[in-house]
Amino acid sequence: MNAILAIIRRDLLLAMRRKSEVLTALFFFIIVVSLFPLGIGPETALLRKIAPGILWVAALLATMLGLSRLFAPDHADGTLEQMVLAPSPLGLLVTGKIIAHWITTGLPLVLLAPVLGIQFDLDSGALGVLMIALLIGTPLLSLIGAIGAALTLGVRGGGVLLSLLVLPLYVPALIFGAGAVEAHISGLGAGGHLSLLAALLALAVFFAPWATTAALRIALE
């Protein structure tokens, strides 16, 4: 447990020292979301309808941006090899890194989403569901993304390849996450979608660190 906390603290400290990287992903999220009304037109009814999908797609892309930084700097300066050799299990350390990644990329999205949702004229109930869905969904994105980041570590054209590998796996999160908000707006209730999203998260919490660890060991062979 101490090892996880130490890793989280270290990664957060590193992120704080290089604030621009975190902020870049955040502003990317804001800009992408703001581009859609410009492309589609300011019609409120239409914007309200497409808001959940747009916010979720932008969240997927923004999470993607940070993924290549998850292991690559540690791989470049040899820290990752020290982690493999460390007495604490690599799976725990990887989990810590994923949590830190979520705090720096996922959590700001959750907090920012309602502000952007207001731009799309979502009511307060829908904004609440959007926040809950993102709160469950963004850790899922970080967990799945970590597998892709580990698989493409030090691989030719890693960044583009990473998006090719990870985006198809993000689809269930997108469907249930955006579906939750849509279901709430249409009066069906978001409970079912949120439960499925949470089930996916439970599955990912169990398997993703394990798969990421295996992929890292292969990359470092």
């Binding site: 390849l161 796996l169 992929a215 292969i218 062979e221």
Partner: protein, 250 residues
């Protein structure tokens, strides 16, 4: 006795002994493909009755359904080989997974393509954002990702292992595809062939479908084995036994 059998099977885990075995098996699988394909196509085009609602256009499902089945099945087989390769550290398993991937991708593409041709006259649209269509598209993307990842890593052993993890992660998606019909239950018609209740199609159509599915199956095995033989030659080019092969000498 059983011990002998295990050793016997593992013998073919070595590329050197599998290469000639695959060479002997390939003509047989091509033969079986023809045996199933010819009556299958005959039923498809002549024996199967014209559908009351869908007319002649429905005949494309004799290609579409087997291709869709194979695209899912090959992914599972690929993941099984990949998992075997990770667990037992056998070189041939990775080659099998790599050999199967393009065939699976083609099957996924064919099922999407023929689905579009079926959808245009039946639904009036080339493409609808239905759950099953969408998950078939995602399956296609998963194949492309697998192929791209393996192509991006130069070290063959690392490519095998990284691809194996990706295949095992992706295999979670295959049951979601299959059950998506029940989960989302949208425009796409429900599964036509069911094990639990009587099939809703005529017996000749069912036979045609089964023959075509078997033909696709045998074709996939033949093509995948051919590809594995090529991969073996490529990866084992430095070894003595490859240099001794007649086809390499010539």
């Amino acid at each position: 006795m059983s011990n002998n059998k295990i050793i016997h099977w593992f013998k073919y885990a070595s590329p050197q002994s599998f290469y000639p075995l695959a060479g002997k098996l390939i003509p047989w699988f091509w033969g079986l493909t023809a045996v199933f394909l010819i009556p299958g196509l005959w039923i498809t085009f002549f024996a199967a009755p014209t559908d009351a609602q869908q007319g002649e256009g429905y005949r494309i499902i004799f290609i579409h359904v087997p291709a869709a089945w194979m695209s899912m099945f090959i992914y599972i087989v690929m993941a099984a080989w990949a998992g075997l390769g990770l667990a037992l550290n056998t070189r041939l398993s990775g080659m099998m997974a790599q050999g199967l991937a393009p065939t699976g991708a083609i099957m996924a593409f064919v099922s999407l393509w023929t689905g579009a041709f079926w959808g245009k006259p039946m639904w009036g649209a080339w493409w609808v954002w239905d759950a099953r269509l969408t998950s078939a598209l995602i399956l296609f993307f998963l194949y492309i990702g697998f192929i791209a990842l393996q192509a991006a890593i130069d070290d063959a052993r690392r490519a095998d292992k990284a691809g194996a993890i990706l295949a095992l992660v992706g295999v979670v998606n295959v049951p979601i595809i299959y059950f998506s019909v029940k989960w989302w239950n949208t425009l796409h018609q429900g599964a036509s062939v069911s094990l639990t209740k009587a099939p809703t199609m005529a017996a000749t159509m069912l036979w045609g479908m089964l023959l075509m599915a078997l033909a696709f199956w045998m074709y996939s095995i033949a093509v995948a084995l051919t590809r594995v033989r090529a991969i073996i030659l490529e990866r084992e080019a430095h070894t003595e036994w490859v240099k001794e092969l007649d086809e390499v000498k010539a």
